[in-house]
């Protein structure tokens, strides 16, 4: 287990390094003059030179690279070109929003997806199964931002026009301020991400369950006289969850993408919207910081999933 853990840790560090380096290469080899951009349109050559020196852009690339990595190793993401605010501060401010969005929708999609998959598999070829499969296909084909817009239109706007103000539109209330309002404001964003992703999980759980239900040990369990319920949830679902867990590890990356569009659609002040806004202002350190941070988050999440996986299924450790 220790060896497995060390190998995985080394691998994670390697991935983060590769990501950080690619980000550096993209930003420092693409021909654009960062200093000129920051100095503004009317800046004189001297001003641009001053800015260049201050940002350390006049040093050789390898020196910049080393200092870039050095800062990263200390957890310093640099500062905004425009406001000089440390990117760490910006990221720390936005993080709770994105984390709330991501965690809530991950829980929701796992529950909905696995639940629907189990129901569909145990009632194979029934009308319920067909309905679930059909609905899943629809959501599976749906872009997150479109679902967000539709939810916004039907569940917020139409209901609002009808005098029912249950789902508020985009805004954010911190969990620590008011947990109830926090959840209320996040319901629609959660659903936008969760429904799209849950569709994959219901398909995956359904086929994994169908395979497992054919196994001999399930027949044995039935022969022992266990209830169907116990067989489904205690015996079958447990091993059917293995592919679900691996898929979950993969999807944590796309979760960040889902968060970006959902934040834009619902106007949530999270990391994703920050990055999109930073593109319009060409505030590169913010974009770089968020990119590297999300890579770290994905790698850490994958590490956790891998460990969980290794605990569930000892064979994984040998790989």
């Amino acid at each position: 287990m220790i060896r497995f853990l060390l190998r995985r840790l080394a691998w994670s560090a390697l991935v983060v390094w590769v990501v950080a380096t690619s980000v550096f290469v993209v930003y420092f080899t693409v021909p654009h003059d960062v200093a000129r951009l920051i100095a503004g349109r009317q800046a004189s050559e001297q001003t641009i030179q001053v800015v260049r020196t201050r940002l350390g852009l006049d040093r050789p690339v390898y020196v910049q690279y080393v200092s870039f990595l050095g800062r990263l190793a200390h957890g310093d993401l640099g500062e905004s070109f425009l406001t000089q605010e440390p990117v760490n501060t910006i990221v720390a401010r936005d993080f709770p929003v994105t984390a709330s969005l991501a965690l809530g929708s991950a829980v929701l999609w796992l529950v909905m997806g696995v639940g629907a998959g189990v129901v569909a598999a145990t009632r194979r070829r029934s009308r319920t199964d067909r309905a679930i499969t059909g609905i899943a296909l629809g959501f599976y084909s749906m872009p997150t931002f479109l679902l967000g817009q539709l939810l916004l239109y039907f569940l917020f706007f139409r209901l609002y026009m009808a005098g029912i103000e249950f789902f508020p539109p985009g805004s954010y209330v911190a969990f620590t301020d008011n947990p109830l309002q926090w959840a209320r404001f996040l319901v629609l964003p959660w659903l936008s991400i969760a429904l799209v992703t849950a569709a994959t999980y219901s398909r995956l759980t359904r086929s994994a369950m169908l395979d497992v239900l054919e196994e001999d040990y399930i027949r044995t369990a039935r022969a022992k006289g266990l209830t169907e319920r116990r067989i489904t949830y205690r015996h079958a679902l447990r091993s059917a969850l293995t592919p679900v867990v691996s898929q979950f590890g993969i999807d944590l990356g796309s979760l960040m993408g889902g968060a970006i569009v959902t934040e834009v659609v619902f106007g949530l002040p999270g990391l994703g919207r920050e990055a999109v806004l930073a593109i319009t202002t060409q505030d590169l350190p913010i974009i770089m910081g968020i990119t590297i941070l999300s890579a770290v988050l994905v790698v850490v999440a994958n590490l956790v999933v891998d460990l969980w996986h290794a605990l569930l299924d000892p064979r994984v450790r040998l790989e």
Partner: protein, 309 residues
């Protein structure tokens, strides 16, 4: 002499059988029909524009907007209503179809090409090469596509080429993983060993011996990649990272619609419906192609297998 009796039995290859199954699948026929319509709309976009007399970028500030500057709803003049600048939504959707199909098909083709080559190589060579390639694919699968697309576009600027490249860059790994798994088992088959004994080189074994046997799953995968690529392009467009306005794409139309959804439902619903129809059709067709090529997945076959027990 039994030749007369045998003549009636025609030998049918796996492709022919698959095509037969596909033809009898009603969902597949419906999806294929829908896709033919989508392709026709894309091809005939200029003709549609001409027929209704509105160009894709033409702004009808007088008749296309209400006196208070709000888009007008579906009417005889504008069948699917207008957008915030008084442009014809129908014509713009038709032109947007071109972008979606072009990016969807090109990006998938590129991803399939790279994924197949890498997958076969990993499966055939095995050992260290396989470990390195598999690990690389894992990284590509786990990295947040949209965040990276965002970071890249922020520097190089949005364009159609960038969209195709970025989407292909982040989808080849899923093809590679599937192809690798297959190549890994095919490589142990006797005919491959025979080819090796006969002195076939690496390239010959990979592309003449193994490739034909992974084609079926590659086709299935390609069909299922296209809707994903279309969604990805629409998402990039929605964020302003792909096709630059005034060129219409479904994604940038939906982005514009964000400002008007309270007063102009048609502006959200029609481009949204076009997008959803296309992706659902591709997904249904992809599922059907998979069922047709792999009889184990064929629902009717599964029933008979169950009844046989």
């Amino acid at each position: 002499m039994t030749t007369a009796g045998h003549a009636a039995i025609r030998s049918r290859g796996p492709w022919e059988l698959a095509f037969e199954r596909l033809r009898r699948d009603r969902a597949a026929i419906a999806a294929a029909t829908a896709l033919v319509v989508v392709v026709l709309v894309a091809v005939l976009a200029p003709a549609i524009a001409k027929a209704v007399g509105h160009g894709p970028g033409e702004q009808f500030l007088d008749v296309g907007l209400s006196p208070s500057g709000i888009p007008v709803g579906p009417s005889r003049a504008f069948l699917l209503g207008t957008d915030g600048l008084g442009r014809d939504v129908l014509v713009r959707i038709a032109y947007g179809t071109r972008v979606s199909l072009l990016v969807g098909v090109l990006a998938s083709a590129l991803a399939v090409l790279v994924g197949t080559v890498v997958g076969i190589a990993a499966g055939w060579y095995g050992g260290t090469a396989d470990r390195a390639l598999s690990r690389t694919m894992d990284v590509f699968l786990a990295l947040p596509f949209l965040v990276f697309a965002l970071a890249l576009v922020a520097v190089v600027g949005p364009s159609l080429t960038i969209s195709v490249t970025v989407i292909a860059f982040f989808s080849w790994a899923s093809v590679g993983r599937v192809v690798r798994a297959q190549a890994l088992s095919i490589r142990e088959l006797e005919y491959v060993q025979a080819a090796l004994t006969l002195g076939a080189g690496h390239a010959r074994i990979m592309f003449i011996e193994i490739l034909p046997n992974v084609t079926a799953s590659v086709i299935v995968y390609a069909t299922l990649l296209i809707p994903g690529a279309i969604v990805a392009e629409a998402t990039l467009s929605f964020l302003g990272l792909s096709v630059v306005p005034p060129t219409p794409s479904w994604g940038n139309m939906l982005a514009d619609a964000m400002a008007y959804y309270k007063v102009a439902w048609w502006f959200v619903l029609f481009p949204g419906a076009a997008l959803l129809l296309t992706t659902v059709a591709f997904n249904v067709l992809g599922d059907s192609v998979r069922d047709a090529l792999d009889p184990k997945h064929d629902p009717s076959m599964a029933v008979s297998a169950e009844e046989a027990r």
